[in-house]
């Protein structure tokens, strides 16, 4: 076996079998040059083994935990914000649906039989939506919706900016 630098490194790491170890031992006994090279490698290995761990700043753990807590808080605030927005839209939707139903039911004659009532409801529903999305009202309807979305987007942007600042230490 040719005893080269790689074999010496493997010898140092305990990666050789007993037969190879014997061969290396013999080679080290017979060659001063090889022994010198192995001693240098062995010393490097020993010094590296005795290296000391570097220390972070004393408040490092607190800083990281503070960031984590701020992030969790910010995530909770985001959840609350989204729930509020959804609740807001939900209330508006319910209001619209309620208003539509009220408008339809208020126009149905109370004495009519069930078939006529259904027909009448269908017609009224059709008339109501035709009226709601008519040329005159669709512009107003779209404007209100756009305004609500713009206001929500502004608050969302402000909230995100605030959350971002919270994460900076």
């Amino acid at each position: 076996m040719n005893i080269n630098n790689d074999i010496l490194n493997r010898y140092l790491d305990g990666d050789l079998n007993s037969k190879e170890i014997d061969e290396v031992n013999r080679a080290l006994d017979n060659s001063t040059e090889l022994k010198k090279e192995f001693d240098a490698l062995s010393r490097i290995h020993n010094i590296l083994s005795k290296q000391q761990v570097d220390q972070t700043k004393s408040d490092f753990t607190n800083l990281v935990m503070l960031k984590i807590r701020k992030k969790s808080k910010s995530e909770n605030e985001q959840k609350i914000f989204l729930i509020t927005i959804l609740f807001f839209f939900g209330v508006i939707t319910l209001g619209i649906v309620g208003f539509v139903l009220y408008q339809i039911l208020s126009t149905v004659p109370s004495t009519a039989d069930s078939t006529n009532t259904l027909n009448s409801l269908g017609k009224n529903l059709n008339n109501f939506f035709s009226d709601l999305f008519s040329k005159n009202r669709i512009t107003l309807f779209g404007s209100i919706l756009s305004f609500v979305m713009l206001v929500s987007a502004y608050f969302l942007f402000e909230f995100q900016k605030h959350s971002g600042k919270n994460l900076m230490i």
């Binding site: 490194n9 493997r10 590296l48 990281v64």
Partner: protein, 190 residues
């Protein structure tokens, strides 16, 4: 005190259940060793601490994806290593991963020669020399000697073969030997 004796997996389970404060035990357990690795890879204390903070936040945010069958240390050091590489590439300070001879280390010339090291101790000299190695070599040396990880674990972290880890480890030792020889530091260090 009782919490400090818990295994990594037990602490992670506790954090997943909502005990965020328990994460500080993991932080204390790994911060200094990961910092040592980052310092040797990034060669800058301030950046090392900044990246380490980023790594702990990343690990916390992705803790739900961590499966306890694997070792937390391997998973965490992979985050540390990859984040360090990203940092290096973003600051355009990445240097050659592989160096075949000490002649490539031209940037090391005239640094830390024997006569300049009268006041420094051996440990500091070695630290400085390791910091000058390519980042992959520095990471492997740190994981092998400081973290006492075996070659299989290191190969898991770096996503390279075990034989490659061994080759880089051997090459790093030889590089250190050559650097010390080049600078006439054998008497001081060895």
């Amino acid at each position: 005190m009782i919490m400090k004796n818990l295994s990594d997996a037990e602490i992670i389970e506790s954090v997943k259940k909502g005990n965020t404060a328990d994460y500080s035990i993991l932080l204390d357990r790994y911060k200094n060793r990961a910092f040592s690795m980052l310092k040797r890879m990034l060669k800058n204390d301030f950046e090392a601490e900044e990246v380490l903070m980023d790594c702990f936040l990343k690990a916390y945010n992705n803790l739900h994806t961590f499966k306890c069958e694997a070792k937390f240390s391997t998973w965490f050091y992979r985050i540390v290593y990859n984040t360090a590489l990203t940092k290096l590439s973003s600051t355009k300070r990445k240097i050659e991963n592989e160096m075949s001879s000490v002649d490539d280390l031209h940037f090391l010339e005239s640094k830390y020669r024997a006569d300049e090291l009268v006041t420094e101790n051996i440990s500091d000299i070695i630290k400085k020399i390791i910091e000058e190695l390519p980042e992959k070599n520095a990471a492997i040396i740190t994981m092998f000697y400081l973290e006492e990880m075996n070659c299989e674990e290191i190969s898991d972290v770096l996503k390279i073969s075990v034989s490659n880890v061994k080759v880089i480890l051997h090459r790093s030792r030889n590089l250190l030997k050559e650097i010390i020889g080049e600078r006439n530091l054998f008497k001081e260090v060895l």
